[in-house]
């Protein structure tokens, strides 16, 4: 080994990583080279001074340690809590689903009354007190707990609101609305949904097509003497906008 080798290998000598063979050669060189020996001693002393300087530096980590252990503790609580909360939420959801009012089949009397009303009051145009003024219609809507926005939304089907009157289907108050498009009239009976919902249903009565559904905040019954395809389209569109 020469002085250059000593310089190159000195980091391994300081860290005690020289293998036995190189350690022997290293030691042999510095034993005979005062300059290299002095150099290594100086490096050693400089390292010691650096260690002392760093060690003299205050390094209070008590706050860091407290914070870390508090965070670990919080993570543990969350770890236990989150599955617990998830389980509780699942139970609650199950309870809500089980307790949710089940949709009821449409009362046949409702379809029968709706078919009769449409036939008598719309097709045969028997004299009734219809409201056509928007303000009066709005008053009827309010009295029956129906949102004006729902009534107007149905015009997105392409049918325009023409008139309205209160009525009863199966003994229950409904708002009878008549929408018209190209001379063809459709009866839409609306009532506030309340807690009870009904299954979507459809039926025919003579040449009448009937449909019923619950959407949003209303239950709707639709009656028309239009072809079945048109009734289906209107019903689909109405259900989509409510």
């Amino acid at each position: 080994m020469n002085c250059g080798d000593i310089n190159e290998l000195s980091p391994l000598w300081h860290s005690g990583e020289l293998d036995a063979s190189r350690q022997k050669s290293f030691d042999a060189h510095i034993a005979g080279c005062a300059e290299c020996a002095a150099e290594l001693r100086e490096q050693w002393a400089g390292d010691a001074r650096l260690r002392d300087a760093i060690a003299a530096e205050p390094a209070d980590t008590s706050e860091i340690q407290r914070h870390v252990m508090r965070s670990i503790s919080r993570e543990r609580v969350r770890h236990w809590l989150v599955p617990g909360v998830a389980a509780a939420a699942a139970i609650l959801a199950t309870v809500l689903v089980l307790n949710r009012p089940k949709p009821a089949p449409v009362n046949p009397a409702i379809f029968a009354d709706a078919a009769r009303d449409h036939t008598v009051e719309v097709i045969k145009q028997s004299p009734r007190r219809w409201r056509t003024d928007p303000a009066e219609i709005a008053t009827l809507e309010t009295s029956q707990g129906i949102a004006d926005s729902d009534v107007k939304a149905l015009q997105a089907t392409g049918y325009l609101l023409e008139r309205a009157k209160p009525c009863r289907l199966g003994g229950t108050p409904y708002l009878h609305l008549v929408y018209i498009k190209n001379g063809r009239e459709v009866s839409v009976f609306l009532k506030a949904r309340g807690n009870q919902t009904t299954d979507d249903a459809s039926s025919t009565s003579g040449n009448l097509q009937l449909a019923a559904f619950t959407r949003g905040k209303v239950q709707a019954v639709i009656v028309t003497d239009a072809p079945r395809g048109e009734c289906v389209k209107f019903t689909h569109d109405a259900a989509a906008v409510l």
Partner: protein, 172 residues
Amino acid sequence: MTSREHEFSEMALPQASSLLRFARRLTSDPAAAEDLVQETLMRAWRGFDQFRGGSNARAWLFRILLNTFYGQGRKGRLTLVPLGETDKAGAHSNNAAFEITDALAKLPVDQRTVLMLGVVEGFTCREMSEMLHIPMGTVMSRLSRARQAMRLQLEPTLKDGAGSRAYSHKES
């Protein structure tokens, strides 16, 4: 405290001071260094399952600190100490110690890192090579350059008196 938390605290918390001193050398201010140590310890806790008992806990923690530092540094959260800036991190009342830490702060971060890890923390060149993901030869040359740079910085001060020749390296 669970037994696992106890085991972790016994293993990691005694290293907090060393980690903090090292972190101060990497970051620009004491608060950032404390954040870095805190983040390091939390990451260590989250990865504690992967830590094998009996392996080198200190090396594992310092590796996490370095990974955290370089990860955060890339995002700009932590900044490197600018070359030439005095060491504000460790408030020394001792002038000689201040001169040394000031000289250390002026080294490039790669030299500062190996000097801290190798000289102060006592890691071997092989351990540093694994920690820093660089060849051993690179670790050795960085250490030699770092010792040389410290000598050059401290020589004028040390020639005046106490602690002279604290860092001396023969030109070869």
